[in-house]
Each structure stands twice: as C-alpha cells, then as structure tokens.
C-alpha cells in the first residue's frame, strides 16, 4: 500500500528528507519504523520516538492503511 511518511528534527537529518511517499509491505508503524532503519545506531530507539498517523498521536502497534500519513517525532523541544 502507498503511504506518506513525515520526518522531523533529528529524524529528518537521519533520513535526509522531510517527507516521502512510497509503497510499503509493512503492516504496522513499528515495522515501518524498523524497515526504514530509524532505530539504528544513527537513529533513535522506539522509546524516544512518538509516532502519529493522520495528524493524531498513535502507538507503534497501530496498523497501516492505504493513504496514511505517518509521522515520526523525536522528543519535543519547543517553548
């Protein structure tokens, strides 16, 4: 299925793009995160990352659906 992924802050730097749209066989947010290698040495462990789908926070076990817009967010540092 085709999804769009948004990357922010350090994860944007790790991935090298702020967003991309592609076909994926992944069933969950967790599989997607790992398939992108974002939990690797240069990335961040799941525990530090908040995922969102379609502009709402969600868990890593959330299932993916066609057309979803997924976001991976490092710890926030606004304010």
């Amino acid at each position: 299925m085709k999804i769009t992924v948004l990357y922010f802050a350090k994860l944007k730097a790790v991935r090298g793009v702020s967003q991309e749209t592609f076909d994926t066989p992944c069933q969950t947010i967790r599989e997607l995160y790992e398939s992108l290698g974002l939990n690797g040495a240069s990335g961040m462990p799941h525990s530090q990352v908040k995922p969102a789908v379609n502009e709402s926070f969600c868990g890593f076990d959330t299932e993916l659906n066609e057309g979803d817009v997924v976001a991976f967010m490092p710890p926030m540092s606004g304010g």
Binding site: L6, F8, A13, M73, P75, M76, S77, G79
Partner: protein, 147 residues
C-alpha cells in the same frame, strides 16, 4: 484559534488586549526568550521546526484542558517558528482569571505541557560553528537547564 504558530515576531500587548475583560482581575503571562547560551555553549541563532497541523491540535487541546482544570476565564498562546536569534521571543502564554492563584497555576501548567507535548523542535546553531537538534531527553539535567 487560541493557540497559534507564527513566523512573525510575537506581539504580547496585542494578544493580551483580546483577552482582557471587566470580569478579569488577574492576568498572568509567561514569555520564553531566546538566550545567547545553552549548557555553556554560545548560541548564535536557532530555528524552531513544527509539525504544524498536529502542533495546533495539541496546543488547542492543552488550552482546553487548562480551562477545565483551573478556575480561569481565558488562556491563549503563540509559539514562533522559523529562524530566531538571541533576544527574540519564542513563546507567549497569557491567562486571565477572577483570582490570581488559578491564573498562575494554569499558566505554569500550559508552558510545562506545551514543552512536553506539542510537536515543535529547536535546532541550535552555536558560535563555534556546530549545530544541534536540542534533545531534552538526552540531557540528564534537562529539568534544570530548560527555561
């Protein structure tokens, strides 16, 4: 919209003016200003990046929560995004109430929760030429060192 993002300078008096009423005896505000140093390093400039759609939703949710949690009249906040320099205003929060204790509590709750939960990130550029995405979780003393 009581929570807003802006790439323009924040104008506290204009924002406050919209909130005041003849019932509001107490007004408490918090402003976060860009400092010229962070954890001992000189800060040349910084950039705030936001996941705007989600940040706006979260910001509104936090202001609503403050209004139901505390006995206040109004609460509003504006966060600046894009490039900023030391001396620039990064965030403004204003709260009106009939009585002052609730205004203080709500204002502090709002800034604490915004910092923790609104998807905005600070990218600092240092005087030594390096730069870094500020990661509060990676700094054991983050509770002491954020403003």
């Amino acid at each position: 919209m009581l929570f807003a993002l802006t790439t323009e300078p924040i104008d506290p008096p204009a924002l406050q003016k919209k909130m005041l009423s003849l019932q509001a005896g107490a007004f408490c505000s918090f402003e976060g200003w860009v400092r010229d140093h962070h954890l001992g390093r000189g800060v040349l400039s910084l950039e705030y990046e936001a996941y705007a759609e989600l940040a706006l939703k979260e910001g509104e949710r936090i202001l609503s929560e403050a209004r139901s949690k505390f006995d206040i009249l109004e609460a509003a906040s504006v966060h600046r995004t894009g490039p900023l320099q030391p001396g620039d205003l990064a965030i403004w929060i204003g709260v009106t109430a009939v009585h002052r204790a609730a205004a203080f509590e709500a204002c502090q709750f709002i800034i604490d929760t915004i910092k923790d939960q609104v998807p905005i990130w600070k990218h600092e550029f240092y005087t030594d030429g390096t730069d870094e995405w500020v990661d509060p979780a990676s700094c054991s003393c983050s509770r002491l060192h954020d403003h």
